[in-house]
């Protein structure tokens, strides 16, 4: 029920947007994220965007986790 998936906002028409994920496109409502812009990544839950995804946070997290993994390999 807390399913929310990351999508790319391709176009905006008023409070609606066309979003894309993995080749699938869909119409969603931007009611809960009025600050959304084309080109943003967002989390979609039951047809509504609930958050604009922080790309740099994602990259930073992956980078940190990558360091942990590298450390692990060196210790093997």
């Amino acid at each position: 029920m807390c399913l929310a998936i990351p999508v790319l906002i391709k176009s905006i028409d008023g409070k609606e947007a066309e979003v894309e994920m993995g080749g699938i496109t869909r119409q969603v409502s931007l009611f809960l994220t009025p600050e959304a812009r084309v080109g943003d990544y967002a989390l979609v839950h039951t047809g509504y965007t609930i958050n604009i995804l922080e790309e740099k946070e994602a990259r930073e997290t992956l980078r940190l986790l990558g360091e942990i993994a590298a450390l692990d390999e060196r210790q093997d």
Binding site: L3, I5, M21, G22, G23, I24, T25, R26, Q27
Partner: protein, 336 residues
């Protein structure tokens, strides 16, 4: 004014005769059907056993990308026969039509059946047409029965899997179910994905030429790959373990499943098969499949084991193992 099917078209009188002759006989055009007898009398002249199957088709919507209820009816029946190692030969075709159904839609479906039958090299030799009052059926329902011959030396059954056998999947899973879902009203996403609806008699024939050690063949329709593997595991009293990374799934199918909370392992396919093959023949069977247009993405996805009979498990991308159970409930009604 669009020509529509009337109740009278199902009553056996002149209008019905005209419908049958004009729509069905003309399209399917073979000597047995042309006799218009109450039953088709066929000289099978065979050595082997008769494979006999029946199916009904209630898919909604009736037209979808890369197929329709007619093509589905032929392919579904042909594939059931092929899964026994039979060469599919003859089909019956019974339709129940809702009053008011556009004649042009019927003709489009009949043409689809004709083309699918031609590709599958089967003949429609007998049929029936009924028309019911508006509201008593949803547009069109089809029932088929199919006959084929299983050669003497073939023994293919869900109960024949043995420890050590390899599990081969003929291509990407989930295409049909997701394609259908995307066409239904109320599901608001668009995708270029098509149904994988296809007749697999030719693929099976190629596989049987390559190997005489194919133990099981099943097509993962309703319930998907997971359900079929569970059925085989139970019937054969073995366990099956598959590798998540080896199972081919299109990106769009993965995305749609994420979006809607489905698991591709449980989504219906209409143009795929699973083969359980003796390990020494796995590679050459795979090779033969990849040469066929309906098997070009075939992959060995797992193996059969003796421990924990009846269980199906999957090695995840993380290297851990989890159980893959049968489908519970019905996430996608009227998928075929």
């Amino acid at each position: 004014m669009e020509s529509r099917i009337l109740l009278a078209h199902g009553s056996g009188g002149a209008l019905a005769q005209e419908l049958v002759a004009g729509s069905f006989i003309k399209a399917f055009n073979n000597p047995i059907l042309a006799k218009m007898d109450d039953s088709a009398v066929i000289n099978l002249g065979y050595n082997g056993r008769l494979a006999f199957t029946t199916d009904s088709y209630v898919v909604n919507p009736i037209f979808f990308r890369n197929g329709d209820i007619g093509k589905l009816a032929v392919c579904g029946t042909v594939n059931d026969l092929a899964m026994s190692g039979a060469r599919p030969q003859y089909l019956s075709l019974a339709v129940i039509i809702e009053e008011g159904f556009p004649r042009s839609n019927l003709d489009r479906i009949v043409d689809s059946i004709r083309l699918a039958a031609e590709e599958a090299e089967v003949e429609i030799v007998t049929g029936d047409t009924k028309v019911v009052q508006r509201g008593s059926a949803d547009k069109l329902f089809i029932n088929t029965a199919g006959l084929g011959i299983v050669p003497e030396n073939i023994s293919i059954s869900g109960g024949n899997a043995r420890p050590g056998d390899r599990v081969i999947l003929s291509g990407t899973i989930g295409d049909h179910g997701i394609a259908i879902l995307s066409e239904r009203e109320g599901i608001s996403f668009s995708t270029g994905l098509e149904s994988d609806c296809a007749p697999l008699g030719g693929l099976v024939a190629d596989m049987l030429t390559a190997s005489s050690n194919i133990h099981c063949l099943r097509d993962p329709t309703r319930g998907g790959l997971a359900t079929i593997l569970n059925e085989i595991a139970r019937q054969s009293g073995v366990s099956i373990i598959i590798n998540e990374e080896a199972v081919p799934v299109r990106e769009e199918v993965l995305a749609a499943c994420e979006m809607l909370g489905f698991d591709p392992l449980y989504i219906a396919n209409e143009g795929k098969l699973v083969a359980i093959v003796a390990p020494e023949d796995a590679d050459k069977t795979l090779g033969a499949m990849r040469e066929n247009k309906y098997g070009d993405k075939a992959a060995i996805i797992g193996e059969v084991r003796a421990e924990h009979p009846g269980r199906v498990a999957m090695k995840t991308v993380l290297g851990t193992t989890r159980i893959v159970n049968m489908l519970a409930g019905d996430p996608l009604p009227r998928i075929c």
